[in-house]
Symmetry: C2
Subunit: 309 residues, 2 copies
Amino acid sequence: MSLLTVGSVAFDAIETPFGKTDKIIGGAGTYIALAASFYNKDQKIVAVVGDDFPQEMIDQLSSRGVDTEGLQIKEGEKSFFWSGKYHNDMNSRDTLVTELNVLETFDPVIPESYQGVDYLMLGNLTPQVQKTVIERLTERPKLIAMDTMNFWMDIAMDDLKETIAMVDILIINDEEARQLSNEYSLVKASKVIRAMGPKYLIIKKGEHGALLFHGDKVFFSPALPLEEVFDPTGAGDTFAGGFMGYVSSTDDHSFENMKRAMIHGSALASFCVEKFGTQKLEEITQADLDARIEEFVSLANFEITQVIS
Amino acid sequence: MSLLTVGSVAFDAIETPFGKTDKIIGGAGTYIALAASFYNKDQKIVAVVGDDFPQEMIDQLSSRGVDTEGLQIKEGEKSFFWSGKYHNDMNSRDTLVTELNVLETFDPVIPESYQGVDYLMLGNLTPQVQKTVIERLTERPKLIAMDTMNFWMDIAMDDLKETIAMVDILIINDEEARQLSNEYSLVKASKVIRAMGPKYLIIKKGEHGALLFHGDKVFFSPALPLEEVFDPTGAGDTFAGGFMGYVSSTDDHSFENMKRAMIHGSALASFCVEKFGTQKLEEITQADLDARIEEFVSLANFEITQVIS
């Protein structure tokens, strides 16, 4: 089943305790589409870049099954650029530079050929742009997932809540869930947030894994304990891309299947953090991914038997 | 198989954002023995209390299958007392009072009837006392587990390392693992610490679950997401007690069985935090525990199937 991703395709410059990069390719849309491509070969993307964006990455997305007709290239303009520096614990970071560039006036045009798309993943963007995309689709996708961030809670909460009310799955981190719900307990937060509209809520906890809430069910997907987290940039987007890539390719919305999707997303995210930017995602093979999934099975699964006492 | 626990049996006074208690019963030894009693009816305890300690709790331990011959009662002396106040996030706390009392001169006498015990759980005490217990057992137990804390790393690191080298399983939290190993990554820390002696290392991460390392295997046991954490006191000891209670009662040291033990320990810990002190552990029935274990199965287990794409 087809999957449309809307999200930034951009440049990042990253500094971690392990080193720093020049401008490298980043953006939520890029990570989501790359991650989803391990499961879904019928993808589409709506995004905007300047004429500084390398054709090689666009070609790579195409070769991975991503239809790039909806990727607008603005002549004479520059791509979105973000630069950040991670602290020693890798859990917090400072933004050094944010240049919106082409994103400032981004109008998410949906190509006619994209109409009727089955699944929609809205990467982190202004809630207004996310909402516009939903409104411009003549047929509602089977399932709409969205990411967002605390920044929009600070400056555009009303818009954000309107958009959240239109989606099926909200994917945010623990800090954002607490801010959005005004509840510290994630169980309480999940109830408040799901009362806003989404039937499913995924709360990402970084190195502490991720939770999926639906009805009275909850599933926990662990993060793989790693020797080294080299660069956390894009891990959340990679998780979301793996999750939606898996759900859309299996076209199965059962809770059991969403559990699997959580594990596939977590496995891809565990690769993402091992090198700077998208590098590791571009390198790994299906065999690497399969082996990593097996690591998650042995990490998390157990069999309860009768106690002998 | 019999299980000997050595640990404090004491009084606590606890303040959390939800309320405060007067002196209530606490102590690592108490929590461990109570938790283990859900699995093992052949327990022994070595500990010391003053004559202020209520006979009712000693009777309760007896009725739960704990032989209390090794519980010394010091006439005219007072039991160990700790008082603490938790911060709003429930993850950090300030110690308000520590009165060592009978613990100051604690000599862990092993009753003759305890010799030949199969399993040993050393609750957090001075490393010297923990070591003495091992030395006083004429036959080495099949499996020795120990807990400790950062305090001993600060003031008695050499003693601590000597004791750690004598045990099979070390059970500590993430902060302690980092301090003990000088490594931030828990995977790296686990290697450094296991090189000190223990073949098994359990790293507890509080609300973020717990990790079991052995050889090149790792297992992650999640914490149950709760609406409210009322009082975290004793949760780590309860986990350890449930873990060792399960391992000793099944007498099975396979990694698969230790995974189950992690889940049983986590389930008991999830009850422990729901009320002040030992109250919830004293209230729950086997049926409550079985139902909670089922919650862990649905929280953590998944089945990977072939991807259709």
